[in-house]
């Protein structure tokens, strides 16, 4: 309040300037990629060409003639199933860790530590197991692989969120005649819904972005989108235009989804973090 008006204006200008610069840095590559997707092949490698007659050939080919829509569906399916399983096993465990303090602080840490196992350790055995079960080249294999990093992260965030739910709510419900199970389902679960959204989205992003596991475990019709995108990088060069379309197609659905839940996302991540 005692800050002079001038200083406040200066601060606002600085603030707008820096945020604007950050936005420019983030968005420019997307803009250029979009421009590239509309360029005819001979202009793709010309940084000095900004205006040209746009061509819809790349968009048409990727949208209508390629299997990219199927790969998007595969990626969505893998992400959703992985996250669903992670939430189903993560929530009860989070409740146990939070309410009963099972395993103490070390258990919480162990959940996080599971996240740090490098994929390189897991991929070989996972690959061999999947192959013995005749599951390579299926989405089941990718889902199993993605569970290795999505489950720990989701559980870890949920612990923080359950911590936030006041005990009194549950106690009151049990005084009113609920069993503990009912209290968990009807009181705690609704209260952590934002956390579930947040943990779910974050887990989904990790699954959605993975190429390492998917490259080795899928093939043919079971490919996920990142593998398909990598497929535009061929022996005969990078098909930049089509890859640009696929990248933009891949960003849009997650972006839209995250826009709607970002408020919860922020809360959920904060909850887990602050209560570590």
């Amino acid at each position: 309040m005692t800050v002079p008006l001038l200083r406040r204006r200066l601060y606002l200008a600085l603030q707008t300037g820096v945020v604007g610069l950050a936005l420019l840095t983030v968005l420019f590559p997307f803009f250029w990629i979009f421009l590239t997707s509309l360029k005819p092949p001979d202009l793709v490698a010309r940084p000095d060409v900004w205006t040209f007659l746009p061509s819809a050939a790349n968009w048409r080919e990727v949208f209508l003639e390629s299997d990219v829509p199927r790969y998007i569906a595969n990626s969505l399916l893998v992400g959703v199933v992985t996250v669903a399983i992670a939430l189903l096993v993560g929530f009860p465990a989070a409740y146990s860790f939070s309410r009963y303090g099972t395993g103490g602080g070390l258990a919480r840490f162990a959940v996080l530590a599971a996240e740090m196992v490098p994929p390189a350790v897991l991929i070989v055995p996972l690959f061999l197991v999947m192959y013995r079960l005749a599951l390579t080249n299926t989405l089941v294999a990718v889902i199993a692989a993605h569970l290795t990093f999505v489950v720990p992260v989701v559980t870890w965030f949920l612990i923080g969120f359950v911590d936030e739910v006041p005990r009194e709510l549950e106690e009151q419900a049990m005084v009113d005649g609920y069993t503990r199970g009912q209290a968990i389902l009807r009181v705690v679960l609704p209260a952590v819904r934002p956390g579930i959204a947040a943990a779910g989205i974050f887990g989904f992003v990790l699954s959605w972005n993975d190429m390492f596991y998917a490259l080795i475990l899928t093939g043919g019709a079971s490919k996920t989108l990142p593998v398909a995108i990598a497929g535009y990088w061929t022996f005969r060069g990078i098909e930049m235009g089509k890859m640009a379309v696929a990248i933009l197609l891949a960003v849009v659905p997650v972006l839209v989804a995250s826009f709607f839940v970002q408020k919860h996302l922020v809360k959920g991540l904060g909850g887990g973090a602050v209560k570590m």
Partner: protein, 414 residues
């Protein structure tokens, strides 16, 4: 991109994608692993005719990016029942796979096929598919290296395209002026620089190993070849291109920034296509043998895994797609040639890219040696490719880099 999986699954529910897709017909089903490249699209197109003529055989392609293939193929080998009945094998994998006992020998099948004319495949290509005196693969397509040049630039200056490495380095240095460079090179660590530099090594009369299998990568010839390569990179290639691979080099040449590049022979038609990356420059490119003549030869081969269920059926397809008649069609459609008869066929010249092109390719193929052979070819490529790149980056002297390469290659071969 065309449809990668040729089988269509109508009304596929999202959930059904979870299950491995089972064949429905009672016919023999052959699963074929393929790499996603234009040559695959051509094979896929031709295969429809094979299936029409052979209703008892059904071909299913599983096309994927290069880096996913090697471990896929390997697991198929290890399974009691092969996932793939037919595979394609990249040049560096051939000895490794054959000696591990993973591939079926094809000698009997080749001999028993009338009119197959195995000798018609260019000799160096045949040699890659033969391991310890037996045939384990027949050629699918070649990726031998040639010298691609901007003919108009050479013509305008009235200079001939160089045929020796010394001339080449001098020429590309003299062509470098302002923002135009004599050569777009591919010094990226690992595979790329190895593939390119080995042509330079040949030109200086060097090799990786001598006839007795001794590592001679640190020979004076090799040091000289590397010194010349570095000289060329520093004085005739675009600055800041140390991580360049195939894609960048192609784009640099296509967009008129560089006069020459050593690249796959079949890039010429791509560059001369007005709809392609070169745009208005299309038609101004020409293909030559690499300086010194002897080129690095890469090739893909068709092979049948030892654990494949129906070898006869698999061979029926392989011998059909590589037969003289079908191969001719494949080449006319733009596939990279492998047979002498096809490259000398006037009909192919006319419907394809002209007499001069096919004759040059044939000349390149006839004087070429495989990229790398032996059980550890992949690792060898990586070791040498890392040391070469370190030398170009100025982290080591050429002599030191090659001495290190020799030491590490020897250790890997043990």
């Amino acid at each position: 991109m065309t449809t990668k999986t040729r089988k269509r699954y109508a009304g596929l529910l999202a959930g059904a994608a979870l299950l491995a897709l089972a064949p429905t017909a009672s016919a023999v089903e052959l699963n074929v692993i393929m790499e996603e490249v234009p040559d695959y699209d051509i094979v896929a197109r031709l295969t429809e005719r094979f299936e029409a003529a052979n209703p008892d055989i059904q071909i299913t392609f599983d096309a994927m990016p290069y880096d996913a293939m090697r471990d896929k193929i390997l697991t198929s080998f290890l399974a009691p029942e092969a996932t793939y009945d037919i595979i394609i094998v990249d040049n560096p994998w051939m000895d490794e796979f054959a000696r591990a006992g993973y591939l079926a020998s094809l000698d009997e099948l080749v001999k028993g096929t009338d009119g197959y004319d195995y000798e018609d495949f260019v000799a160096p290509l045949r040699a890659i598919g033969e391991v310890d005196g037996k045939i384990y693969g027949v050629p699918y397509y070649n990726y031998a290296l040639g010298l691609i040049v901007r003919q108009d630039v050479f013509d305008a200056k009235g200079i001939a395209v160089p045929t020796t490495l010394e001339d080449y380095v001098a020429t590309i240095k003299s062509l470098t002026e302002g923002d135009f460079y004599g050569a777009a090179m591919q010094p990226q660590q690992g595979y790329k620089i190895f593939e390119e530099w080995k042509n330079w090594l040949y030109a200086m009369g060097g090799d990786l190993m001598d006839e007795n299998g001794n590592v001679v990568i640190d020979s004076p010839e090799a040091v000289k070849a590397l010194e010349m390569y570095i000289d060329a990179y520093n004085n005739a290639a675009p600055p800041g291109s140390l991580n360049w691979g195939f894609d960048e080099a192609l784009r640099a040449v296509a967009s008129g920034k560089a006069a020459t590049m050593m690249s796959y022979n079949w890039m010429l038609p791509t560059l001369n296509n007005p709809e392609g990356p070169a745009g208005e420059l299309a038609g101004k490119f020409q293909l030559y043998e690499v300086p010194g003549g002897k080129a690095v030869l890469g090739a893909w081969h068709w092979a049948i895994p030892a654990n494949a269920e129906d070898r006869e059926a698999a061979w029926k397809f392989v011998s059909w797609i590589t037969s003289k008649e079908v191969d001719k069609e494949r080449v006319i459609l733009g596939g990279a040639p492998i047979r002498t008869s096809v490259m000398t066929d006037p009909e192919v010249w006319e419907k394809g890219y002209g007499e001069r092109y096919y004759k040059t390719v044939l000349a390149i193929l006839e004087d070429a040696e495989p990229l790398a052979t032996g059980n550890n070819a992949e690792e060898l490529i990586d070791i040498v490719g890392t040391e070469l790149n370190a030398a170009v980056a100025g982290k080591k002297s050429p002599k030191q880099a090659l001495a290190d390469a020799a030491r590490r290659v020897k250790a890997a071969l043990e």
